[in-house]
């Protein structure tokens, strides 16, 4: 079976399960919106948001809700040991990784379609001034975060304290992605947008994505072998 076909089967299955349960989208969305609200009370004074607050809060919401989505996506595979059923299929195990990653990224993008405009409204940020560049920054940042998160979530799926270990392992490693995401978005949302700086951070995010996805593809087979 071709790699892409196998990966798509896994993604489609994950999306179908999510369509039925709506569990991950609803919980991550609720969590992300709560996050924005709480920070809005702290960082918006007399109708004015603190400088760069929108960018920082947006990426905090993405990181926190993303961790929730990652944990839940693999918890589903653990509950009925369906992950073992997938591992027995005659497909490259890296295709399984790509399938899970794509599903998680698509779910997070669905959540971001709500929280990005919401952050714009709450923090008076001009989200729609450079929509393509903002979308590119959010998408590449999400891929980078989910790429390493999917690997770690798969690694931890059989450990007892996986809920605690996932953020503990994930956040330090994804700090470069978060910094690049925040600085790139802040450059774009500033009173005088700095497109050159946003492009620079975007290119760094692309580099991180390539690094993290390559690392994960390289190690996933051995990580999944007990």
């Amino acid at each position: 079976m071709r790699f892409v076909e196998a990966a798509w089967l896994v993604t489609r299955k994950d999306l179908l399960i999510e369509f039925r349960s709506r569990e991950i989208v609803y919980t991550t969305l609720f969590f992300a919106v709560s996050c924005l609200l709480v920070f809005a009370f702290g960082f918006v004074r007399e109708g004015r948001a603190v400088e760069d607050a929108a960018a920082g809060v947006l990426w905090v919401a993405i990181a926190f809700s993303g961790t929730l989505a990652l944990g839940r996506a693999f918890e589903r595979e653990r509950q009925n040991e369906t992950l073992r059923g997938l591992l027995m299929a005659p497909i490259p195990r890296a295709a399984l990784y790509v399938g899970k990653l794509t599903g998680i990224v698509l779910l997070l993008v669905a959540v971001e379609l709500v929280i990005v405009p919401m952050a714009g409204i709450m923090f008076q940020a001009r989200m729609l001034e450079y929509p393509a560049m903002l979308a590119a920054l959010v998408l590449t940042g999400t891929i980078g975060f989910a790429a390493i998160g999917t690997l770690f979530a798969a690694m931890l799926v059989r450990t007892r304290s996986r809920d605690v270990l996932l953020p503990v392992l994930l956040y330090p490693v994804t700090v470069p992605v978060m910094i690049a995401g925040v600085r790139g978005t802040a450059a774009l949302l500033a009173d005088e947008p700095n497109l050159a700086m946003a492009r620079l951070w975007l290119s760094m995010l692309v580099v991180f994505d390539v690094m993290f996805v390559t690392l994960a593809l390289w190690t996933f087979e051995s990580v999944m072998t007990e």
């Binding site: 039925r20 589903r76 009925n80 005659p90 497909i91």
Partner: protein, 228 residues
């Protein structure tokens, strides 16, 4: 890419400091049903997981015919484990179709229909598996494991949750698999049900393999003698 035997040679498996399997050697051939008996925690599921390529042995080798493990070999192995590998949110047909497709089966639709009929679940094909009883899920999981006509069939407590009629149907199914040249390795505690079905039995006790004699008398008596 096929094989007509599976051989374990001095297979050991440790989990931390606990030794689950201790130098197990066993050969099973095509057209043979081998029962794997033993008390809880004896290492039966570990041995099946190793045969299914889900666990690596700590030492020793396992060979499929004259081949070592290869990704393509997985398409010739079917496992019904204690956990049923079914998605509760998906319907019976969706579960089977997904596993048919991921196994690269070209005629997935026809196989799914046949499997649903085999599980006597054709009328529940569009119901989510989460609403099924344990017995129904067990029947469906068995069909999932056999969907791709595996050469090596690994069954861990396959009679769990099955009513009398389903148990009889499963025994008939296993006879059919044997006549078609499958290698069936079956871990169970239901000795009366498999009496007359199996070709031979072996016992695992504290990770060690003990043969059970083929002599006369009920299997349970021979099993108890072997365990002394």
């Amino acid at each position: 890419m096929d094989f007509t035997s599976v051989s374990f040679t001095d297979v050991s498996r440790n989990f931390g400091r606990r030794r689950a399997l201790n130098r197990v050697s066993l050969r099973c051939d095509a057209g043979e049903i081998v029962a794997l008996l033993g008390p809880n925690g004896a290492g039966k599921s570990t041995l099946l997981s190793i045969a299914a390529t889900l666990l690596e042995p700590s030492s020793g080798t396992i060979r499929y015919g004259d081949q070592d493990l290869d990704r393509e070999l997985r398409s010739r192995i079917g496992l019904l484990a204690h956990d049923l590998y079914l998605y509760p949110e998906l319907t019976a047909a969706e579960n089977l179709r997904f596993f048919a497709q991921i196994n690269g089966l070209a005629d997935a639709g026809a196989r799914v229909d046949r499997a649903l009929a085999g599980a006597r679940l054709s009328d529940r094909r569009d119901d989510p598996v989460g609403g099924f009883s344990r017995g129904m899920r067990q029947r469906l999981a068995l069909e999932r494991a056999l969907l791709h006509d595996p050469r090596l069939v690994l069954l861990d407590e396959p009679f769990t949750g099955l009513d009398d009629a389903s148990s009889v149907a499963l025994v008939d199914r296993l006879r059919g698999l044997r006549s078609h040249g499958a290698i069936v390795l079956l871990a169970t505690h239901d000795l009366e049900v498999i009496e007359g079905l199996i070709d031979r039995a072996v016992m695992l006790f504290n990770g060690r393999l003990i043969p059970i004699d083929d002599g006369p008398g009920p299997l349970r008596d021979r099993f108890r003698r072997a365990g002394r």
